[in-house]
């Protein structure tokens, strides 16, 4: 369940967004760079605070300006996959994925089991002890995703998860992510500027422009020519 109703004054415009998805699922925020999509993710994660409004995810109130409640970022149990992955450069693959688990003081065996459980199916077991700096783009993307999933978050936040990958990997990873999201069964918010990602993964797609939502609907509703120039550009291409 996703309930976001926030307003925030930003440098170039005012962010004013109202989205409700009572059934949960994957929300995709679509739009050009600078439209305010990543800001929504930061607000949900607790890295920024709204000027007015509230955010409720999965039944829990993260922030509400009317009652002046605010849960700090580290207590919101969100799994955030950053645009450039933000893998800790001074740690190995194992340590990166295990970071959240160690913070929660899980016993070593449990952590070990969980990391293997995650890295196995994605072919990352062999590089577990390597420093993240020596990985390829695709490997880093997977590690970033696993790091976010490791703590079994209550909500997944994905910022342009495919933008740094080559086309062939993109297609493969899109399918993988779809499976992972379905398996995880938690509300997810994904930010992208690519309509193909939105259509492949989103239960609800919202197009943003200058801090506001201009179009909202499911994949079929969005994929209509003539609704908005941003959508149209994808038709010309294909």
């Amino acid at each position: 369940m996703i309930d976001i109703a926030v307003k925030k004054v930003l440098r170039d415009y005012m962010l004013d967004v109202n989205i409700q998805m009572p059934e949960g699922g994957t929300l995709v925020l679509l739009g050009e760079n600078g439209a305010g999509k990543s800001t929504i993710l930061n607000l949900v994660a607790g890295l920024m605070a709204p000027d007015t409004g509230h955010i409720r995810i999965g039944g829990e109130t993260f922030v509400d300006t009317t009652t002046r409640t605010c849960i700090p970022a580290e207590s919101r149990e969100t799994g955030y996959m950053f645009q450039d992955y933000a893998l800790f450069p001074h740690m190995t693959v194992y340590d990166n994925i295990a970071y959240g688990l160690r913070i929660r003081h899980l016993p070593r065996e449990a952590i070990d089991a969980r990391v293997r459980e995650l890295t196995g199916p994605l072919d990352l077991l062999s590089v577990c002890d390597e420093n993240v700096g020596s990985l390829s783009g695709g490997q880093r993307q997977r590690v970033a995703l696993l790091r976010a999933l490791a703590v079994k978050p209550k909500c997944l936040l994905l910022d342009e998860p495919f933008s740094a990958l080559d086309v062939r990997t993109q297609v493969q990873v899109r399918q993988e992510l779809k499976e992972i999201l379905t398996a995880a069964n938690v509300p997810a918010i994904m930010v992208t500027h690519d309509l193909r990602d939105a259509v492949a993964l989103g239960d609800r797609i919202c197009l943003m422009e200058h801090g506001e939502i201009v179009l909202c609907g499911d994949a079929d509703a969005i994929l209509q020519k003539g609704q908005h120039p941003f959508i149209d550009q994808f038709f010309i291409r294909s």
Partner: protein, 273 residues
């Protein structure tokens, strides 16, 4: 090491490389020759006999202990200031930044006088401490305070630059993974800034070890209590220059040893992962 082909391709740059080599050699010689002159002037027997003199032993011990304590204090108090100034904007930030930098510009004797006028028994704060029976000036505590005062900017500046160089996104990632701000600081920020932090700490230690002007003014000069190596060296200068030289060489050798050990240890840290 460059390959043959790489060397051939770099040939066009030869004049520049020669110039750079000359500049480097001049710079190293400028520092190195006076040091070598110092070392060559002092016969080893004089140094060994000096090392057995109680004045020297007391001064060495006092210097190393106080400089270490001062460095720890500077790190403890300087790290929060450095981090806050690296990350946050607040009214008066530029003033605080300038204040923490000022001890570098102050002649040490003036710094000592200022400390005396603040914490001496007639001082701004000191007069009240005096009433309570606490006298800070002319004690070993005063030695540490003088060192902290003059040496702190070295650490704070370096730490501030290092913290500012840590990309915020790593700290944000840690927060979303459940780490409190304090945990984030120690598990992510510090490791990523560690080279600069250690280098700042070494500079602070070195400056504290060599501190003279503020110490003599605020802490005075008494063997075993406040007479650090630099003070002992200066005192000896008035009587017997050879004794003074021997002490100076001892100080240089010990400082060199301490600093190089720290560098070796920290390079191991970097090589480890």
């Amino acid at each position: 090491m460059t390959t043959t082909m790489e060397r051939i391709c770099m040939r066009g740059n030869l004049p520049l490389r020669i110039l750079v080599a000359i500049l480097v050699i001049i710079a190293v010689l400028f520092i190195g020759i006076p040091l070598a002159a110092l070392l060559l002037r002092v016969p080893p027997e004089l140094m060994l006999s000096s090392l057995q003199d109680t004045v020297v032993i007391d001064a060495l011990f006092l210097s190393l202990v106080t400089a270490s304590i001062s460095t720890v204090i500077v790190i403890g108090f300087g790290t929060p200031i450095a981090y806050i100034n690296a990350r946050c904007q607040y009214p008066g930030k530029k003033i605080i930044d300038t204040i923490t930098d000022i001890p570098v510009v102050l002649p040490p004797a003036v710094a000592g006088l200022a400390l005396l006028m603040a914490f001496g028994r007639r001082g701004l704060v000191g007069q009240y401490l005096n009433l309570a029976g606490i006298d800070i000036a002319f004690t070993t505590i005063a030695v540490i305070m003088a060192q902290v005062f003059v040496a702190s900017p070295f650490y704070i500046r370096q730490a501030r630059t290092s913290f500012a160089g840590v990309n915020r996104v790593y700290e944000q990632a840690a927060r979303t993974l459940g780490a409190s701000p304090l945990t984030t600081f120690f598990s992510v920020t510090v490791p990523l800034a560690i080279t600069g932090i250690l280098s700042g700490a070494v500079m602070t230690f070195a400056r504290a070890l060599g501190e003279f002007g503020a110490t003599i003014m605020f802490a005075g000069n008494l063997q075993g209590k406040t007479q650090t190596m630099p003070l002992a060296i200066y005192g000896a200068l008035q009587g017997d220059i050879n004794a003074s030289l021997a002490l100076a060489v001892i100080l240089v050798i010990i400082s060199f040893a301490v600093i190089i050990v720290i560098k070796i240890l920290t390079e191991k840290e970097e090589a480890a992962p």
